[in-house]
């Protein structure tokens, strides 16, 4: 058979010499290898105290964004729900009434906005689809829960804190912008 590469090596079938058959030398060699590992740096990250940084493109839990004045950006256009391949997003739209201009940026807003975190595959297509820059994926992940219902995140869970009234919490939730 023609060899495709010249990497193949014939197996050495020479009978073992007496020293090799004793195995002791090879055992000592092996023990030296394990001994040398005592001085190697451990790659372990001691989790709760030490955390590995997420990569800048990490796609975690969703955040519903607000503008600089603390108004919700989402207009309930439904493009994210359409883009979602896992059909995890549902929403109900409502019309902004007089006196709510400081709450919602445009005339239409999402009265109900739910993401099922058990369905979501964290692909980030909703983020891409959003014309209003209203939804993006943060650098956290969904914590464990006891019930399935607990994984359906509504607006209170998703909305970013108001930058006007809770500036600190807002900055924390915003995190490092990619």
């Amino acid at each position: 058979m023609q060899a495709l590469t010249n990497k193949a090596q014939a197996v050495n079938r020479k009978p073992m010499t007496f020293l090799e058959r004793l195995y002791l030398i090879n055992i000592i060699k092996g023990m030296m290898i394990t001994f040398s590992h005592m001085f190697k740096k451990q790659p372990t990250i001691r989790y709760p105290e030490e955390k590995r940084e997420f990569s800048p493109v990490f796609r975690g839990l969703h955040v519903l964004n607000r503008d600089e004045e603390g108004r919700e950006r989402c207009t309930a256009c439904g493009l994210c729900a359409v883009a979602c391949p896992a059909e995890a997003i549902t929403m109900e739209a409502a019309e902004r009434i007089e006196g709510e201009e400081n709450l919602y940026r445009e005339e239409k807003y999402a009265a109900k906005y739910e993401i099922n975190m058990l369905r979501c595959i964290f692909c980030g297509l909703c983020e891409d689809a959003c014309p209003k820059d209203a939804i993006y994926l943060s650098e956290t992940f969904a914590p464990a829960n006891f019930t399935r219902k607990g994984f359906i995140y509504g607006k209170p869970d998703l909305l970013i804190p108001n930058p006007k009234t809770e500036a600190e919490a807002y900055a924390e939730a915003k995190g490092v912008e990619a």
Binding site: I27, G30, M31, T34, H37, K41, R46
Partner: protein
């Protein structure tokens, strides 16, 4: 009326010593389990147990507590008495070895001259052999009483392994006994103390054989076939739970400590600290230094055991038997003959 003319102080002294040595062995065994996990971890670039207490030092206590709190299960089909007797026997046999080990020279307290040895039996080495052979009964009875085919298979393996390797061990020891001329461990150690060469110099091959067979007797890797978990699920203690399982696991570590102590005593000078003149300090301090020296030697041997365990894979069963019968026994016989010839020639 005196029925028995006993030296009560001697009795008290021995009882206190037994208590100290048994408790110390248990304590050391407790931390040997911890050391095993830590050594394994460090050799594999892992941190090992580090959560319980500083550096994970409370881990063995947590493990022990867990074992005690677990439900005690005796299988329906098991022979109940033998099932309970098994771990008890394994533990007793492994603890009994410590009776003849000389832990130090002697100390003078309250006007009494106390030998740091529970019993200086003049056939100490034979006693050790007898007790070590008893240990196999613990495993055999446990495996048999469980009424589980895997346990039985493993008990059979343990028994045949112990028998094969005890032979080579005995033959390796005969050569040593020929050079020492005594069966008492105290005498053997005293011959090595104070500037004399350690027995390892006279019996390097004998020590190698003894070390390999000791590893096999302790069921340590590469000879841990009775506990080969990928072949026998868990081994002879598969049906055991709670502290009965703990006793089996513990007995193994105590066996390891005792065989380390015996190897240190017989081949590495026991409590002898090299290049140190014992007469230059007070006798009590010298004895304490001796105890510390023996403990350090034991710890080094235990580390060697662990180091080997985390380096070499397990033997195949036919290879194990081949090594025992076809290599170690002829080698031990050869060693014995050479030793005899040398002793004759130098007489």
């Amino acid at each position: 009326m005196t029925i028995l003319a006993l030296d009560w102080a001697l009795l008290a002294e021995k009882l206190i010593m037994i208590a100290i040595i048994v408790l110390a062995s248990l304590g050391i065994a407790l931390y040997t389990t911890f050391a095993e996990r830590k050594v394994a971890a460090i050799l594999q670039d892992r941190p090992g147990p580090s959560r319980a207490g500083p550096f994970g030092l409370l881990q063995p206590l947590a493990d022990g507590l867990k074992l005690i709190m677990k439900e005690e299960i005796i299988p329906n089909a098991a022979n109940k008495w033998l099932f309970i007797l098994g771990p008890a026997l394994a533990m007793t046999a492994s603890l009994m070895t410590c009776a003849v080990i000389p832990w130090g020279s002697a100390i003078d307290v309250f006007g009494r001259h106390i030998e740091l040895q529970i019993a200086d039996v003049n056939i100490g080495v034979l006693y050790v052999f007898a007790v070590v052979s008893m240990g196999v009964y613990g495993i055999m009875i446990g495996g048999w009483a469980s009424n589980n085919k895997f346990s039985l298979m493993s008990a059979l393996r343990a028994a045949s392994q112990a028998i094969s390797y005890e032979l080579a061990m005995g033959l390796a020891l005969i050569a040593l006994l020929m050079t020492t001329g005594s069966l008492s461990l105290k005498t053997i150690v005293e011959q090595q103390v104070g500037g004399n060469w350690w027995n390892i110099v006279y019996q390097p091959l004998g020590f190698l054989i003894f070390f390999i067979t000791a590893m096999a007797e302790c069921n340590r890797t590469p000879f841990d076939l009775p506990e080969a978990e990928n072949e026998l699920n868990f081994g002879y203690h598969q049906e055991y739970s709670s502290m009965k399982l703990g006793f089996y696991l513990f007995a193994e570590y105590i066996n390891m400590i005792m065989s380390s102590a015996i190897m240190a005593s017989m081949y590495f000078g026991g409590y002898d600290l090299p290049f140190f003149n014992e007469a230059s300090v007070a006798p009590n301090i010298a004895a304490m230094i001796g105890v510390g020296t023996l403990l350090i030697k034991i710890v080094l041997f235990i580390f060697l055991f662990m180091w080997i365990r985390w380096t070499i894979p397990r033997f195949r069963y036919d290879q194990l038997m081949g090594l025992g019968w076809k290599t170690l026994i002829p080698l031990a016989l050869f060693n014995m003959l050479v030793t005899g010839a040398v002793i004759l020639a130098t007489q």
